[in-house]
Amino acid sequence: MTVYVKGVVFDGVDFDDPNSWNIDAYIQRGGYAALKKIIAEGITQDTIIAELKTSSLRGRGGAGFPTGLKWSFMPRSFPGQKYLVCNTDEGEPGTFKDLDIIVNNPHALIEGMIIGGYAMGITVGYNYIHGEVFAAYERFEAALEEARRAGFLGDNILGSDFCFQLHGHHGYGAYICGEETALLESLEGKKGQPRFKPPFPASYGLYGKPTTINNTETFASVPYIIREGGQKFLELGKPNNGGTKLFSVSGHVNRPGNFEVPLGLPFSELLEMAGGMRGGKKIKAVIPGGSSAPVLPGHIMMETTMDYDAIAKAGSMLGSGAVIVMDETVCMVKALRRLSYFYFEESCGQCTPCREGTGWLYRVVDRIERGLGRPEDLDLLESVGKNIAGRTICALGDAAVMPVQGMLKHFRAEFLHHIEHKKCIVPGY
C-alpha cells in the first residue's frame, strides 16, 4: 500500500485506479507540463540546474549527494556521446519504493530523465531495472512506447531540435548492480563488478563516455521541481533536506508500505502512519535506511526526525529510506545472521577483503547463532570488519560491516548472552 501526504513523486496519482499510470492520466494531473514549458520557453540548461540546486534535492539512491551539483559535473559541452542512466536496481533489503514509482507513475520518471538529458546535453538514456520485478520492466517499456508516440521522446521532441532516446534494461539477480559502476558494467553486458574510482562516471561512464546516474526517485522528483519551482520543493522539507521522500516501511508494523512524506517528519509520526507496531508489541530496533545502515534502538528512533542530517546525528544513515521496524521478539543475532548472509551471497567476488571478509563475518555470526560462539568472537567480528571497511573497490564492503558494527554497538549484551547460553535471549525473528 502506498500513502502520500504531500506528493511530489506521486503528485495526483490515484492508487485505486488501474489506469492512473498511463500517459493520459499523467498529463491530466499536470504531467509533461514541465517539459513543455522548457521547450516552449527555451529554458536554459543553467536555469534548470540552478533550480535543482535551489531545491536542495539530494540523491535518493542512498548516498544523498546533491543532485544539482552532480548534474553540474557533467561536461555539457563535451562533443562526443554522453549517457544518462537511471538506477532502478532497487535491491537493498527493505527498499521497495522505486518499484512503486515505475508501476504507478512511470511517466514522472521518464519526464525527469528527458529533462535531465536536456539539462546536460545528453541524447541517450537507459533505465536499469531490478530483474526480480520484471513486471516493472514491462510497465516501463509500455510507458516508453506511450511517450514516444506522444512525441515526448525520440527525435525532435515537441518539434524542437532536442532529441533524446530512452531504453529499459533489466538486471537478472545481482544486488551489486545497484552500485553505480557495477550497474554500468552490467549495462555493457558484463558481470556486475564495480569499477575502481576515479575515474568517476561523470568522466568515464557507460562505454567509457561521460555518464550521469541517478536513482529513480531522484529523477521522478524533477518534473515537480521544474513545474513548481525549486523553492517550493525545498519548503516541503527542511533546509539541506528539501522536498518529500518516499519511506518504505517494513517489518513489525500494521500497515507496511511506501509513505511519501516531507523530510524532517518525526519517526513516531511515520510509525503511526504505518499503523503502529503490529500486535501492539514494544519497538526494539529500527534500521532506518536500508539494510546497509546501522541499526538504532527503538527509543533513539522515537526521538528522531526522518531526514538526512537527523538520522546521521543519531548514528545511522537515511540511505534509501527503507525503514525496517523490529519489535521486542526479534533476536538480534538471528537478524544479523540473515543480513550477513545477504552480503556474503551478494559480494561480487572481485576484491579480496569483500570476497573473503563477508564470508568470514557470516560464518562467525552463524556460529554464534548455532550456539558455537566464543566470547572472543565479538572482537574478531569487529577486527575483521575493520579490515574490510574502507579497503574495498566499492561500498558493499562497508555496507556489510555497517550492520555488524551497529548491532555490536547497541546490542552487544544480547550477543554475549547468546554466546554464553548458546541460545537466543528472545524467541525468534
Binding site: 559480494s347 579480496t352 564470508g359
Partner: protein, 775 residues
C-alpha cells in the same frame, strides 16, 4: 610533470603515472598481485594499499594516479595494517601446503606471506575447495590456490585477443575456468603460467618434475620463428626442465609463444640421435665419429671426382646457428658445389636472383607497432609470428589500421581495417590492385604492368590507408610479407609489387622472417630455395627433414632416394633412416654455443645450456672436423666465437650493410585465376621445425590436430561435399583421403590442406592444382 614524495623521497614523474610506477622508479617495491604492467588495471587484490596524505582511507597504489604534491607512505602504520589485513584475507582460503605446491619457491604469495602473515590463523572455519579444470595439454590447474587476481583472464582477453579464460560465478564461489568443454587454445597461452602469482596455473609438462631451487637458469634464444625471443632455460642435471621468457622489451617483451616454451620437450625425446650411424648392407650400425666422418669424406671425394662437384647438394634450414650455417656454406663452396641452400619451401628461383641483399623486417620490431597502417601480405600471422601478431593487436587498440592481403581470413582477434582474400595464385594480382589504387590515389602514373588489373573498393581503401599513414605527421606505414608470400610460386612478383607499393605509398617494406636465422643465412650468402628439385649424386642434409622442409615433399624425396650418398646431420632419428647412408648426431641449440640473426637484423649470441647428449656434437664442430678431414682450407676454429668472427668479420655492422629488401629485374605478368581447384598448403604452427614436431605436449594441442581439407561453403557445394564428408584428394599422381571442414574465410576454388605433416607428405607442392572427389 608532477611532483610526488614517497616515504620522504621527492621525485617528479610524468602525468598519468600511477603511484606503484612512481615508487618502482625509485626502487621502492609495493607488494602486489593483480597489477601487471602489460595488463589493464584491476585493483582487485588490494595488496598494494598505501597511505596517501589527506586521504582518509588507504589507496591502491596500482590504480591511484599521482597528483601534484602528493605524499605517499608505503610503510606507515596505516599502510602496513591494510596490507596485513589483505594478506590475512588471502590466506584464509589458501592452502598452506607450500612444500607440495608446484609453485613453491617461486610463489609471490609465499614470498609476501613470510613478511606479513601472522603465524597463527584467526580463521577457524572450513576452507574453500575448488575443483580443477581442464585447460588443455599445456596448463595444469590447482584452482584451490587461486587468489582471483584475474591476471590470466585479462591476459587472454587483452593480449591473446580472445577471452578464453574467465571468472565464472560470483563472490566466494567465483572460479577461474575456460568455457565448458573448451580448452585454452591460444598460441601464446603459456604466458598465463608466468602471470599466475600462485600455484593455480602451472606448466603441465613441467609439473612435479623438479623444485625450482634445484634448477639453474641459463640464457638462450628461441630457435623457432624469426623474432628471436629471449629465453631462460632451466636446467637440472644436464637436462632442460623448463623454458621461461627472458624479458626483452625490444623483442619479445615479457612474453614467449607456446612453441618457445614447450618445444624443449623434444630435447629430451627418445628420438634423439646419440651415436653416429652407418647403413651397411641395408642395416644401420652404430659407429664412432672417426669412422663415420671418414666414410662421408671418402664418399664426397669419390662422387666429386666421378660426377663433378655440382652433383653434390648441401642443404640446411634457417633454424641452425650462424656458426653452423657458415661452415656448412663454406664446406659446400670449398667442395666446389656452390652456395649451400637453406629455405627449401621457397619455390620461385627468380626471387633469389632478384634480391639485392638479405631480406629483413625493414625496421625495428618495436617500431612495427608504431606504424599507423600495416598491410600484411601472405601470412597466417598468428601462427607464423605469434608475438608479432600480439604486438600488432595492441597497436590496433591504439589506432593502428591493420589490413591483410591473404589467401585465408583466419581469426586474428583484432579489428581489421581492410582485407583482400584471394586464391594463392592471385596474390600477385591482389597486390597489383593495391599498387594501382595507390598510384591513382596519389595521381601518379600507374605502372604499366599493373595497368590492367581490376581495382576493388577494398584495394582502394587499403591503398588510401597506407598513403594517409605514411603522409601523416610522424606517421609510418608498413607493408609486411609473410611465409605464404615467400613460399608462393610467384613470390618474386609479389616481392616486386610489394616494393612498388611501398615506393608509391611511402611505406616501409619488411619481411617477417620464416625462422630464427633466415636473415643470418642470407647474410652468409646461402641460397634461398630448394636444391633438391633436380637429381643429385650426393646430398648433405643439415638439420633438414626433406619431406617437411621442402616446397614439394615428393620431388625432394625422389631426389634423396635416387642419390648415391645421403648424409643426414641431425639431432633426431628421422625419415632419413629410409633414404640416408649416414646419420650424424648434431646437437640442438641447447647444447651448443651459437647465434641467430633475427628478423630485425639483430645478432643474438648464446651458449649451450647443457652438455651434448650421448655422442652428439655441436654441428659447427662436426663440420670443422669434416672440413679438415677433406683437407679443406680455413676450418681451424677453437670455439664458436672464432667461427662467428670469421662469419661476420665486421660483426653487426656487416649484417646491417647487407640488409636490403629491394628486388631487381622481376617481370610481373598478370594472370587470370586458375580454372580449377588450387591447394593452399601452409605449414602448421607445430610442424615448422624438428623440435616442435617432437614436442609431445604441443602435438596434443588443437593447433596440432590432424589435417583436414577446408573449403568455403560455396566451393564445397560445387564439389558436392559437405562438412564431415570423407574426400579423396588428388595432386598429380598422388592421392589421399581427408575429412572436409568448412572455412568461411577462403576464396572460391581454394582447398586448404597443410603441408609439412606426416599425414600429407604423400601429396605434392604447397600451392598446386588439386582435385577432390567424394570418397
Amino acid at each position: 610533470m608532477l611532483e610526488i614524495e614517497i616515504d620522504g623521497t621527492k621525485l617528479t614523474v610524468p602525468n598519468g603515472t600511477t603511484v606503484i610506477e612512481a615508487a618502482r622508479s625509485i626502487g621502492t617495491h609495493i607488494p602486489h598481485f593483480c597489477y601487471h604492467k602489460k595488463l589493464s588495471i584491476a585493483a582487485n587484490c588490494r595488496m598494494c594499499l598505501v597511505q596517501v596524505e589527506k586521504a582518509p582511507k588507504p589507496l591502491p597504489a596500482c590504480a591511484t594516479p599521482v597528483n601534484d604534491g602528493m605524499k605517499v607512505f608505503t610503510h606507515s602504520d596505516m599502510a602496513v595494517k591494510a596490507q596485513q589485513g589483505v594478506m590475512e584475507f588471502l590466506l584464509i582460503n589458501h592452502p598452506l601446503d607450500c612444500p607440495i605446491c608446484d609453485q613453491g619457491g617461486e610463489c609471490q604469495l609465499q614470498d609476501l606471506a613470510v613478511g606479513y602473515g601472522g603465524s597463527n590463523s584467526r580463521y577457524e572455519e572450513e576452507k574453500r575447495v575448488v575443483p580443477n579444470k581442464d585447460l588443455g595439454p599445456l596448463i595444469s590447474t590447482d584452482m584451490t590456490r587461486c587468489i582471483h587476481c584475474t591476471r590470466c583472464v585479462r591476459f587472454t582477453e587483452e593480449v591473446a585477443g580472445m577471452q578464453e579464460i574467465g571468472m565464472a560465478g560470483r563472490g566466494e564461489h567465483s572460479e577461474i575456468m575456460s568455457f565448458i568443454g573448451m580448452t585454452v587454445d591460444s598460441e601464446i597461452s603459456g604466458n598465463v603460467i608466468d602471470l599466475c602469482p600462485v600455484g593455480a596455473l602451472t606448466s603441465k609438462p613441467f609439473r612435479y618434475t623438479a623444485r625450482t631451487w634445484e634448477l639453474s637458469r641459463r640464457k638462450s634464444v628461441s630457435p623457432h620463428d624469426g623474432l628471436g625471443a629471449n629465453l631462460i632455460v632451466q636446467v637440472k642435471s644436464d637436462r632442460v626442465m623448463r623454458v621461461l621468457p627472458l624479458e626483452n622489451e625490444a623483442i619479445n617483451e615479457c612474453w614467449i609463444a607456446d612453441r618457445d616454451r614447450f618445444a624443449y620437450e623434444a630435447l629430451n625425446s627418445e628420438q634423439r640421435l646419440t651415436k653416429p650411424m652407418l647403413k651397411q648392407g641395408g642395416q644401420w650400425i652404430e659407429t664412432d665419429w672417426q669412422s663415420a666422418l671418414e666414410y662421408v669424406g671418402n664418399g664426397l671425394k669419390s662422387i666429386s671426382r666421378e660426377y663433378g662437384a655440382e652433383s653434390i647438394a648441401v642443404v640446411g634450414t634457417p633454424h641452425s646457428t650462424l656458426e653452423e650455417l657458415f661452415l656448412l656454406n663454406k664446406l659446400s663452396s670449398a667442395l666446389g658445389a656452390g652456395a649451400a641452400s637453406f629455405a627449401g619451401r621457397y619455390a620461385d628461383a627468380r626471387l633469389t636472383k632478384a634480391q639485392q641483399g638479405a631480406t629483413w623486417l625493414g625496421l625495428a620490431i618495436g617500431d612495427v607497432a608504431q606504424s599507423k597502417a600495416v598491410v600484411v601480405v601472405g601470412s597466417t600471422i598468428r601462427k607464423e609470428q605469434p608475438l608479432l601478431a600480439q604486438r600488432l593487436r595492441q597497436a590496433v587498440k591504439r589506432g593502428l589500421n591493420l589490413s591483410i592481403i591473404n589467401p585465408m581470413d583466419d581469426e586474428l582477434f583484432t579489428k581489421l581495417s581492410g582485407k583482400l582474400i584471394v586464391r594463392p595464385d592471385q596474390m600477385v594480382e591482389a597486390v597489383a590492385a593495391v599498387v594501382k589504387a595507390a598510384a591513382e590515389h596519389k595521381q601518379q602514373t600507374v605502372p604499366a604492368e599493373v595497368a590492367d588489373v581490376v581495382v576493388s573498393d577494398d584495394a582502394r581503401s587499403i591503398a588510401k590507408q597506407l598513403v594517409a599513414a605514411a603522409a601523416s605527421e610522424g606517421g609510418r606505414a608498413t607493408v609486411l610479407l609473410g611465409n605464404l608470400a615467400a613460399h608462393n610460386p610467384r613470390a618474386a612478383e609479389i616481392a616486386a609489387l610489394a616494393n612498388q607499393l611501398a615506393a608509391v605509398t611511402g611505406a616501409t617494406l619488411g619481411w617477417m622472417s620464416e625462422a630464427a636465422n633466415t636473415v643470418g643465412a642470407q647474410v652468409l650468402g646461402m641460397e634461398a630455395g630448394n636444391a633438391l628439385v633436380k637429381p643429385r649424386k650426393a646430398v648433405l642434409l643439415f638439420n633438414t627433414e626433406v619431406e617437411f622442409d621442402s616446397h614439394d615433399a615428393q620431388v625432394a624425396l625422389a631426389t634423396v632416394k635416387q642419390a648415391e650418398m645421403v648424409v643426414a646431420f641431425s639431432a633426431f632419428k628421422h625419415a632419413g633412416v629410409e633414404y640416408a647412408d649416414v646419420l650424424l648426431p648434431i646437437t640442438p641449440f641447447s647444447e651448443t654455443a651459437g647465434s641467430f640473426v633475427n628478423m630485425e637484423g639483430k645478432l643474438q649470441t648464446f651458449n649451450g645450456v647443457v652438455k651434448p647428449l650421448g655422442d652428439s656434437r655441436p654441428g659447427w664442430k662436426v663440420l670443422r672436423v669434416l672440413g679438415n678431414l677433406l683437407g679443406l682450407e680455413g676450418f681451424d676454429f677453437d670455439n664458436a666465437e672464432a667461427v662467428r668472427k670469421a662469419a661476420l668479420p665486421q660483426g653487426e655492422v656487416g649484417i646491417a650493410a647487407k640488409l636490403n629488401n629491394a628486388v631487381n629485374g622481376v617481370v610481373v605478368t598478370l594472370q587470370p585465376a586458375g580454372a580449377g581447384l588450387v591447394r593452399l598448403g601452409e605449414v602448421p604452427i607445430y610442424q615448422g621445425d624438428a623440435l616442435v614436431r617432437r614436442a609431445p605436449s604441443l602435438q596434443k594441442t588443437r593447433d596440432a590436430a590432424a589435417p583436414m581439407v577446408s573449403l568455403s561453403a560455396a566451393t564445397a557445394k560445387q564439389a558436392s561435399v559437405a562438412a564431415g564428408d570423407k574426400v579423396q584428394v588428388k595432386q598429380g599422381d598422388a592421392q589421399a583421403q581427408f575429412t572436409v571442414a568448412i572455412d568461411a574465410g577462403l576464396a572460391e576454388g581454394v582447398v586448404r590442406l597443410p603441408v609439412a605433416h606426416p599425414k600429407t607428405v604423400m601429396l605434392g607442392a604447397m600451392f598446386a592444382p588439386i582435385q577432390l572427389t567424394r570418397a
